[in-house]
Symmetry: C2
Subunit: 396 residues, 2 copies
C-alpha cells in the first residue's frame, strides 16, 4: 500500500515467522461464552516476534481487525526450499526491528481471533462432536469471548502483565475489552480508529452485508462446506465494508470519475468506472481467503460490543472505573465509520476516572483504513508511548 504515502516506515522486516497453535478448554467443560453456551476444545493460532525477557515484562499484544489473522509481521518459511514471494504480515510496517513496535525490545504476540477462519476455532472449524464444520451451529461469540481466549493464551505463555495491548477497528474493541476485563494485567493500551460501541450507522452497514451473504442461495443456511460457497454474497458484503473503510476524499483522489477504459462511456452494465472495478477486485480477492459464516459471526460480535452496557449499566464512565492502564487513543479525521467524536467519548470517560490518557486525531484523508497504512506520525506516537510505558512499568 505504499502508493498511499511517501513516508517510508522505519526499520527492517523481522524475517521468518511461524504460525503456532494453542489449544485449551477441552470438553466436557469447554469454554464458557457470554451467550451462556460452551465451546471446546478451542484452538488459537498465534505468532510471536522478538524475545520474552526473563521477568516477562516486555510483552506487547497486537489485536487484529475483522478479517485479519495472526500473521502480523515477517514472512512465512519458504516452502520447498524456494524463497517465498508472499506478502509480509498485515502490520509489517509497524512490527519489526527498529519499527514502531520494536521487536528488538518487545516480545510481540498476535493471535487470530476466536470465530475467525485463519487457524483459530470458528464456524469453519470442525466440530469434534459431529466431525463436520460447525457452520451456524457455532455458538454466537462476543468481543469479550475473543479476549477471554487471548487471556488463556497469555496464561499459557506465562505472561501476567502485558506491557501494551494495541489494535485498530475491531482489534481496538478488543483492546478496550482487555483493559476493562483484566485491569490488573494491562499496563498500557492503544485503541486505534475504534469505538466503545457501534453506532446505528455501523450496525446498518454490517446488517446489509450479512443480508447479502444470507440472501445468496449458496449460503444454504450456513451449510456450504464442500459445496458451492456463497461467493457472490460474500463479495458484495466485502464491497459494502470496503466503502466504509475509505472516505469521500480518498475515493475522489484515488478514483474520482476515472473510467476503466480511457475512451468514451460504454453505455453498458459492468465495471466502467475505476472505483467499480476496484470494489469488484476487493470483493473477489476476499472470497479467496475468508469464510462467509465467519464474516457473519465476527460482524455480529462487533455489533454487540458495548462497553457501557456490559460493564457500566450504560455508563461509559462507570465502565472504565476499574481500569488502570495508561492510554494512547488515536482517531483519524476522515474515518466516518468510527468518527473522532466516538474516540473523544472514550477519552472523556477515561479522564473522568483520572486515567492517564493521550489522545491524538491524525489528520489523514484515507478514512478508517488509515491505521493500516504507513504513517510516521503513528510510528512515532507508538514508539514514544511504548518507551514511556516500559519506563513506568520498571518504576512501578
Amino acid at each position: 500500500m505504499s502508493e498511499y504515502t511517501d513516508q517510508a516506515p522505519n526499520g527492517a522486516t523481522i524475517g521468518i515467522v511461524e504460525k503456532q497453535f494453542f489449544t485449551f478448554a477441552a470438553p466436557p467443560n469447554g469454554m464458557a461464552l457470554e451467550s451462556g453456551a460452551t465451546l471446546g476444545p478451542v484452538t488459537i493460532a498465534y505468532e510471536t516476534c522478538g524475545t520474552l525477557n526473563a521477568d516477562k515484562t516486555n510483552a506487547v499484544l497486537v489485536l487484529h481487525a475483522l478479517s485479519g489473522d495472526s500473521h502480523m509481521a515477517g514472512f512465512y518459511k519458504p516452502e520447498n526450499g524456494k524463497a517465498s514471494n508472499a506478502k509480509p504480515g498485515w502490520w509489517d510496517i509497524m512490527v519489526g526491528p527498529g519499527k514502531g513496535i520494536d521487536t528488538n525490545k518487545y516480545f510481540v504476540i498476535c493471535s487470530n481471533i476466536l470465530g475467525s477462519c485463519m487457524g483459530s476455532t470458528g464456524p469453519a472449524a470442525i466440530d469434534p462432536e459431529t466431525g463436520k464444520e460447525y457452520a451456524i451451529n457455532f455458538p454466537m461469540i462476543t468481543i469479550a469471548d475473543m479476549v477471554k481466549a487471548q487471556k488463556e493464551l497469555m496464561d499459557h505463555l506465562g505472561i501476567k502483565k502485558i506491557l501494551s495491548v494495541i489494535g485498530g477497528s475491531v482489534g481496538g474493541m478488543q483492546v478496550l475489552e482487555w483493559c476493562v476485563r483484566y485491569p490488573d494485567m494491562v499496563v498500557s493500551a492503544v485503541p486505534l480508529a475504534t469505538t466503545c460501541r457501534h453506532s446505528a450507522l455501523a450496525i446498518a452497514f454490517n446488517e446489509v452485508a450479512r443480508q447479502s451473504i444470507m440472501a445468496d442461495p449458496n449460503w444454504n443456511n450456513g451449510d456450504y462446506y464442500g459445496k458451492r460457497k456463497p461467493d457472490m454474497g460474500l463479495a458484495i458484503a466485502r464491497m459494502i465494508g470496503h466503502i466504509t473503510y475509505l472516505s469521500d476524499e480518498s475515493m475522489r483522489l484515488k478514483f474520482g470519475r476515472k473510467l476503466q477504459n480511457k475512451s468514451a462511456l460504454s453505455f453498458e452494465f459492468g465495471a466502467e468506472f475505476q472505483v467499480e472495478s476496484y470494489l469488484q477486485y476487493q470483493g473477489n480477492k476476499f472470497i479467496e481467503r475468508f469464510d462467509a459464516n465467519c464474516f457473519l459471526y465476527i460482524t455480529k460480535a462487533a455489533d454487540y460490543f458495548d462497553l457501557a452496557r456490559e460493564y457500566g449499566n450504560d455508563s461509559l464512565v462507570k465502565a472504565f472505573s476499574l481500569c488502570k492502564a495508561k492510554f494512547l487513543v488515536v482517531s483519524y479525521s476522515s474515518d466516518w465509520l468510527y468518527p473522532t467524536y466516538q474516540s473523544k467519548e472514550m477519552v472523556t470517560a477515561m479522564k473522568k476516572n483520572g486515567l492517564d490518557v493521550s489522545f491524538c486525531e491524525i489528520d489523514a484523508q484515507w478514512g478508517h483504513d488509515a491505521f493500516l497504512l504507513p504513517d510516521l506520525r503513528l510510528d512515532n506516537l507508538i514508539t514514544g508511548f511504548l518507551r514511556s510505558a516500559a519506563h513506568d512499568a520498571l518504576t512501578i
Copy 2:
C-alpha cells in the same frame, strides 16, 4: 413522515388528481438517445395541479428522484365509490393550495422519468417489437434523455417557458440538465440536495447496489417478468441506498442501539437492533412497488451524469456558460451522499458566469432525505423564490 419534525406544512391538500399519459416518438424514427440508440414509442406518465394561465407563463416543473413517480400531490380518485385511504403524492407537503409551490398561482407538472416503472417507458414496459418486456434490451438512458422526454411533454402542453424547474437528488440533476440543455426555456431553477456529478463514493454505493441485484439468481440476466423476481437483491440494493439517505446523527437519534425486543440480546442472527428491522422493512416495502431492472438503469444514468464532461469539456464553469436561469441552490448540512461542497462547486461555477444565484445550506440532521421532509425553511425559501421569479418574468 411527520414523526421527523414538529413543523406543520402550510396549506391544504389539492384534492383529487389523475395520472395522465403522453406518447410520442412513434417508430420508425423514435427518440434519439445519448447512447446513439433510438427508442419509440415513448410514453410519459404525468400529473398536473393548478391551472395554466392564458399566456402559459406560470408553469412549474417538478422532477422526482430515483424511485419516485408522477404522483406529486393530492389523492387519486377513490375506486369503486369508496373513499381512498391511500397516501397523498410524494411531495404533497410542498405542492398544493397555499403551499411552498402554490397551486392557486402555478400550474405544476410532474412527469415520471424515462426508464422508470411508474407509467413511463422503461425496462419493465412492453417492447412493441417483441410483445415482451424490454428487460435489459432496453437501451441505456441518461439524465439528458429523461430531460429530452420532459421537453416533448412541455411542447405537447404548449409550454414555451417554464417559470421554475424544481427537484431534489436525481431530480436535481434533471433540473441542472434542463437549465443547460434548454437555457431559453427555463426562467428559474431550484436544484435541491444534488450534484453536478456523482463522486466515486456515490458511484461505489450504486455499483454495490446493482451488484446485489445482478447477483440474485432470480434476476436471470434481467429476464424475470412473469417469473420469480430478484426480490432479495432489490431489497438489499434498497437497504444500501437507504443508509446513504440518512445520516450518522439521524440514525443515532432515531435508532441508536435500541433493540427490537426490549429484553436482552438474543445471540441469534436476524433483525435484533431496531435499525436492522427498519432497513429490512424499507427493503421489503420497496420490492412491492419498484422494478429491479429500472433500478439498474436509473442508478446508471445518475452515475453517468456529469455536466462538466457533457457540456464544458470538463469545465463546470464552461458548462453553465449558456445558462440563463435564476437559481436557488439548496444543500443539507448532514447530506453525505451529495455534500454541501458539491453544491458550492455548482454555485461557484454559476457565479463565475454572472448568474443570479441564491444558495442556502439548511442545517438539518436528517441527511440526504431531508429535502423530502416537512420543513418550513424550505417552504419559505421556495415561496419567496417563486414569487420573485414570477415578478421577474413579468418584467422581462
